[in-house]
C-alpha cells in the first residue's frame, strides 16, 4: 500500500500514526501510571486505617475515629462539583477549537482556545480558594491533632508524643489570637479561647470556703487539660466560630486528619500542576491566534494538547468522587 509520491521501494514500516501522536499516547501511559500510583496510595492508606471503636459504659459501641468525612475537613461538595463541570466544559471547548482549526477557521479556533484557557484558570482559582480555606482552618499536614477523649489507653499512649506536639501548637496559636485579637472574631469566641488557654496550664485555684462558719482561703491544685481534652475544647470553639461565620487560625482535632490532608494536597496538587502545564500551552496558542499566526499547521499540536487535556480532565473525574463524595 505504498503511495504514489513515495519512492516505490520505501514503504514505511511504522504504524499509520504520526510520531507526535504516538509519543503523546506513550506519555499518557506514563501519566496514567503516575496517577494510578497516587490514587492507589490514597486507597491503600484510606482502607488501611481502621475505624476506632470504643464501648461506652452502657454497652453500646461508638466510633470515635474513622477516615474524615468531607464535612469534617471543610470540603464543600458543591464547589468540587462545579469545578468538575468547569473542566468538562473546557474539554468540550478544546475539541471545538480543534474542529474549527481543521475547518480552517483560525478565528473561531482562537476564541475556543481562549475559552478553554479561561475555564482552566477558573478551575485553578476555585482550587486556590479551597486551599486557602484549608490554610485558614489549619487543615495542613503535620498540624492537626488526632487524639480524642475516649480512645483506648494503648492508643493514647501511642499518640502521646504527637498529642504533646499538638497542644504546643494550640498554645502558640491561642497566644497569638489572644494577643492580636484578629478582626472578625467576636468577643465571645475570644473569651472561650482565653479560658481554654488558662485551663491548659496547671494552676492553683484559690477559693473561699467556709470553715467553722468563717470564710477561709483555700487553694486547690487544678491539673492541666489532657491533650484529648484540649482537642475536644478546640473543636467546640471552632464549631461555635463556624456557626458565627468567623475564621479562627486554630488547628482542629480530626482523627486521621493529617493523613487526609497529605493525600488531598498531594493528589489535587499534582493535578493542579498538570492543569497549569496545559494552560501554559493554551496561552501560547492563544497568543499565536491573537497575532494571527494560528493555522492548519497547528492542527496536530492542538489535537495533542487536546488529548492531554482530556486526560487531565479524566484524572479529575476520578479525584472528585474519591475525595469529595466517598
Amino acid at each position: 500500500m505504498t503511495q504514489a509520491h513515495h519512492d516505490e521501494t520505501q514503504p514505511s514500516m511504522g504504524l499509520p500514526l504520526p510520531h507526535g501522536k504516538l509519543a503523546m499516547w506513550l506519555f499518557l501511559v506514563t501519566e496514567i501510571m503516575f496517577f494510578t500510583a497516587l490514587i492507589g496510595v490514597y486507597l491503600l492508606l484510606r482502607n488501611g486505617t481502621p475505624s476506632l471503636r470504643v464501648t461506652k459504659p452502657d454497652g453500646t459501641m461508638e466510633v470515635i475515629a474513622k477516615w474524615p468525612t468531607p464535612h469534617e475537613v471543610h470540603l464543600i461538595e458543591a464547589i468540587g462539583a462545579g469545578n468538575t463541570f468547569v473542566l468538562i466544559c473546557s474539554s468540550l471547548t478544546v475539541v471545538l477549537a480543534h474542529y474549527w482549526l481543521s475547518k480552517g477557521d483560525a478565528k473561531k479556533a482562537t476564541r475556543f482556545i481562549g475559552i478553554t484557557l479561561a475555564l482552566g484558570l477558573l478551575f485553578l482559582v476555585v482550587k486556590a480558594y479551597e486551599y486557602n480555606s484549608k490554610w485558614q482552618h489549619q487543615i495542613l499536614p503535620g498540624r492537626i491533632g488526632e487524639s480524642l477523649p475516649g480512645m483506648p489507653p494503648e492508643r493514647e499512649r501511642q499518640y502521646h508524643g504527637v498529642a504533646e506536639l499538638y497542644t504546643a501548637n494550640v498554645r502558640t496559636d491561642l497566644d497569638e489570637i489572644i494577643k492580636e485579637k484578629p478582626a472578625g472574631v467576636s468577643a465571645d469566641t475570644l473569651a472561650l479561647c482565653e479560658k481554654l488557654r488558662k485551663d491548659m496550664d496547671a494552676s492553683t485555684v484559690e477559693r473561699m470556703v467556709k470553715k467553722d462558719g468563717q470564710d477561709v482561703k483555700s487553694s486547690t491544685y487544678q491539673r492541666p487539660l489532657s491533650p484529648p481534652e484540649v482537642g475536644k475544647r478546640v473543636n467546640e470553639i471552632l464549631e461555635e466560630a463556624e456557626k458565627k461565620g468567623e475564621h479562627l487560625h486554630l488547628a482542629p482535632t480530626i482523627p486521621y486528619g493529617n493523613m487526609w490532608a497529605s493525600c488531598y494536597f498531594a493528589m489535587t496538587g499534582f493535578h493542579a500542576l498538570h492543569v497549569f502545564g496545559g494552560l501554559v500551552v493554551f496561552a501560547i496558542f492563544l497568543i499565536k491566534g491573537l497575532v494571527g499566526k494560528l493555522g492548519r499547521q497547528d492542527e496536530g499540536a492542538i489535537e495533542l494538547i487536546g488529548l492531554y487535556w482530556h486526560f487531565v480532565d479524566i484524572v479529575w473525574i476520578f479525584l472528585f468522587p474519591l475525595l469529595y463524595l466517598v
Binding site: 509520491h5 514505511s12 511504522g14 501511559v29 501510571m33 503516575f34 496510595v41 493529617n258
Partner: protein, 597 residues
C-alpha cells in the same frame, strides 16, 4: 494515510556546518548522545568502584588504622571509618552503580547508539527530546556529587531508602540534607529515562527501514524496546514514591509515618497515620522491573555478539523474543519477593513466590538458547566474545542463587545476608557489566572508527574474570554462614568469626579487581587515538549498523538501507562467505521484502 511521519526521517542535513558545541556538547545526534552517556557512565563507574573499595576495606579491617586512608578521616572519628560513613559508602555505591552507570550505559549509551543504526533510521524520532534526556542527567550528576559535601554526608539509608530511617531527618546523620538530595537526584534520573523510553518506543515502532519487520529486528533492538516499555510503565511509580518521601521530609506529610509518629531520643515526630511498608511496595514495584531493565539490554547485545562470533544463526530467535517478553511481563508481579520478611501478609508471599520461581523459566529458555548457539559453532575468541560468554556463565550463577531467595522459607534465613550481595553482584557486575564490556569492545570500532587493542582487552578480561569471581563467589559462603549485609563491623559476632578470613581475601581481590579496570581505561583511551583503523564491518557481522561507515556520519547511512533478511544468517550453506548481512541484496536466504501495510 498521513505522511507526516516520513518527512523528518528524510531530513538529511550536511554534517559539517555544525559548530563544536552543537556537534559534541548540545548534540542532537543519537550517536553523540550515546557516547556522552558512555563517557559519563565510565566516570561514575570509577566513583562507584572507589566507594565499593572503601566498603571492602572497612569490612576486612574494621576500625583499624589503615595507612593513607585513615589520614583522610577526621580527628573526631579517631582516624577511623565511622559507621555512618560506612552506611553512606554502600548506599551511594549502589546508587551510583545502578542509576548512574548500568542504566545510563545500557539504555542511554547503547540504546541511543544502536537503535537507529540497527533499524536503519537516520536518527531518533525526537532528536531534541533525546538531547534533553541527556541534559536532564546533569542536574542529577551535580546534585549527587554535591550531596557528598552537605552536612551529615550523602544518603546512608541503603539504595532502597526505607522509611523511617530515610524519611525522618533525625534517624541518621545522613538522613537530612543528604537524603533530600538523593531523592531529588533520582527524580531527575527518572525524568531523563522516561523521555528516553518514549523516544525509543516511538523510534522502533515508526522508523524502521524498508523490510525491517519486527521479526527481523536484532535482539538488541527487541531488548531495548521491551526495556523502554518497562521503564515507561515502572518509572512513574518510582517518581511518585520519591515525591511522597520528599514531601514527608519537607512539608510534614505522613505517607510513610505510622500512626502516632515515632520518638527519636527526646524528639518526637509529628502525628502519623501512614504506612512504612507502602514505600517498599512502591519502591519495589519500580525496582524489581528495574533489575530487568538492567539485564535485558545486556542479554540482547550478548545474543548478537554470540551469534556473530559463533558464525552461526542464533538458536531459537522467536523463543528468545518471547522469553524477554515473558521476563518483562512476569517482572511486574514479583516485586513482593523483596518483602517476604517485611511484615507483609504472608499469604501474599506465597503468590509472589510462585511468580518469582516461574520467572526462571524464560531465563532458562534464554540460557539454553545461548548454549544451543555455541553448539556446532566456529567460535572466534575475540575480547567481545569472551566477555559475552562470561556473561552467560555468570548469569547462570547469579540466576540460580535467585532461586534460593525466591523460596520463601529459605529466604527467611537468607534475607539481608551476604547471599543476596553475592546474587546482586553476579547478576549486576558479572552479568550486566560483562555484557557492557562485550558491547564496548564490539561496537567501539563503529563508535570511534578504531579498534580496541585485543591484547590489552584479553588481559583485562582474564584478570577481571578471575578477580571478580574471587571477590564475589565467597560472598555465597559467608551468606550461608549468616553474615548480615550492611554491617560496618562483623567482628563483634562470634558466629561470624570463622568468616572474617574470607572477608580479607575478598577485599584483596576487590582491590586487584579495581586496579584491573585501569587496564580497560588505558585501552579505551589509547585506542581512541592510536587504535587500528576499523573498516565498515570489522567483525563480518550482519546487522544494519555495519553497512554504515565507521564512525557513521550525521544521518548515518549514505543510501536508504533496505533489509532483505533476518540478522542472524551466518554460515548459510548456499553462500560462499560465512555471513550474509541483512542489507546484502543477493537472493540467497532472502525472504520477500515485507511491507508493513
Amino acid at each position: 494515510m498521513s505522511d507526516s511521519h516520513t518527512q523528518d526521517v528524510g531530513a538529511h542535513h550536511g554534517h559539517t556546518e555544525l559548530g563544536f558545541i552543537r556537534k559534541y556538547i548540545f548534540s542532537e545526534d543519537h550517536k553523540i548522545i550515546g557516547i556522552q552517556f558512555l563517557f559519563s557512565g565510565l566516570i561514575f563507574l570509577f566513583l562507584g568502584g572507589a566507594l565499593a573499595l572503601g566498603v571492602r576495606i572497612q569490612l576486612a579491617w574494621p576500625n583499624k588504622d589503615i595507612p593513607v586512608l585513615s589520614n583522610l578521616f577526621p580527628h573526631s572519628w579517631g582516624h577511623k571509618m565511622a559507621p555512618e560513613f560506612y552506611t553512606m559508602l554502600f548506599s551511594m555505591h549502589a546508587t551510583v552503580m545502578i542509576f548512574f552507570v548500568i542504566i545510563p550505559w545500557l539504555t542511554g549509551a547503547f540504546g541511543n547508539f544502536l537503535i537507529p543504526l540497527m533499524i536503519g533510521a537516520r536518527d531518533m524520532a525526537f532528536p531534541k527530546l533525546n538531547m534533553l534526556s541527556y541534559w536532564f542527567m546533569w542536574p542529577a550528576f551535580i546534585i549527587l556529587l554535591a550531596s557528598f559535601f552537605v552536612d551529615g554526608g550523602a544518603a546512608g539509608a541503603g539504595w532502597t531508602s526505607y522509611p523511617l530511617l530515610a524519611s525522618i531527618n533525625l534517624a541518621a546523620p545522613n538522613s537530612g540534607m543528604g537524603q533530600v538530595l538523593w531523592l531529588t537526584s533520582l527524580l531527575f534520573v527518572g525524568i531523563s529515562s522516561m523521555m528516553g523510553s518514549v523516544n525509543y518506543i516511538t523510534t522502533i515502532i515508526n522508523l524502521r527501514a524498508t523490510g525491517m519487520t519486527l521479526n527481523r529486528m536484532p535482539l538488541s533492538v527487541w531488548a531495548m524496546f521491551i526495556t523502554a516499555i518497562l521503564q515507561a510503565m515502572a518509572l512513574p511509580v518510582l517518581t511518585v514514591a520519591l515525591i511522597l518521601q520528599l514531601l514527608d521530609k519537607t512539608i510534614n506529610t505522613t505517607f510513610f509515618l505510622p500512626p502516632g509518629g515515632a520518638p527519636f531520643g527526646n524528639w518526637h515526630t509529628g502525628p502519623g497515620g501512614g504506612q512504612p511498608l507502602l514505600w517498599q511496595h512502591l519502591f519495589w514495584f519500580y525496582s524489581h522491573p528495574a533489575v530487568y531493565i538492567m539485564i535485558l539490554p545486556a542479554m540482547g547485545m550478548v545474543s548478537d555478539i554470540i551469534a556473530t562470533f559463533c558464525r552461526k544463526p542464533l538458536f531459537g530467535y522467536k523463543p528468545m523474543v518471547y522469553s524477554m517478553v515473558g521476563i518483562a511481563g512476569l517482572g511486574f508481579i514479583v516485586w513482593g519477593h523483596h518483602m517476604f520478611q517485611s511484615g507483609m501478609d504472608p499469604r501474599l508471599g506465597t503468590g509472589f513466590m510462585l511468580a518469582t520461581i516461574m520467572i526462571a523459566l524464560p531465563s532458562a529458555v534464554k540460557t539454553f538458547n545461548w548454549l544451543g548457539t555455541t553448539w556446532g559453532a566456529n567460535i572466534q575468541y575475540t575480547t567481545a566474545m569472551l566477555n559475552a560468554l562470561a556473561f552467560v556463565s555468570m548469569f547462570v550463577i547469579g540466576g540460580l542463587s535467585g532461586i534460593f531467595m525466591a523460596a520463601t522459607p529459605v529466604d527467611v534465613y537468607f534475607h539481608d545476608t551476604y547471599f543476596i550481595v553475592a546474587h546482586i553482584h553476579y547478576v549486576l557486575f558479572m552479568s550486566s557489566i560483562f555484557g557492557i564490556f562485550a558491547a564496548i569492545y564490539f561496537w567501539f570500532p563503529k563508535m570511534f572508527g578504531r579498534l580496541m587493542s585485543e591484547r590489552l582487552g584479553k588481559i583485562h578480561f582474564v584478570l577481571t574474570f578471575v578477580f571478580a569471581n574471587c571477590t564475589f563467589f565467597p560472598m555465597h559462603i559467608i551468606g550461608i554462614g549468616g553474615h548480615p549485609r550492611r554491617y560496618a563491623d562483623p567482628t563483634l559476632y562470634k558466629f561470624l568469626e570463622p568468616l572474617q578470613g574470607l572477608n580479607v581475601f575478598m577485599t584483596v581481590c576487590a582491590i586487584l579487581l579495581g586496579l584491573t579496570q585501569l587496564i580497560f581505561v588505558v585501552n579505551f583511551f589509547l585506542s581512541l587515538v592510536w587504535g587500528k583503523k576499523a573498516d565498515r564491518n570489522p567483525w563480518h557481522s550482519n546487522s544494519l549498523e555495519w553497512s554504515a561507515p565507521s564512525p557513521p556520519p550525521h544521518g548515518n547511512f549514505e543510501t536508504e538501507p533496505v533489509v532483505y533478511r533476518g540478522p542472524y544468517e551466518y554460515g548459510h550453506p548456499d553462500h560462499n562467505e560465512d555471513y550474509l548481512p541483512q542489507f546484502d541484496p543477493s537472493t540467497v536466504g532472502r525472504g520477500t521484502p515485507v511491507h508493513a501495510h
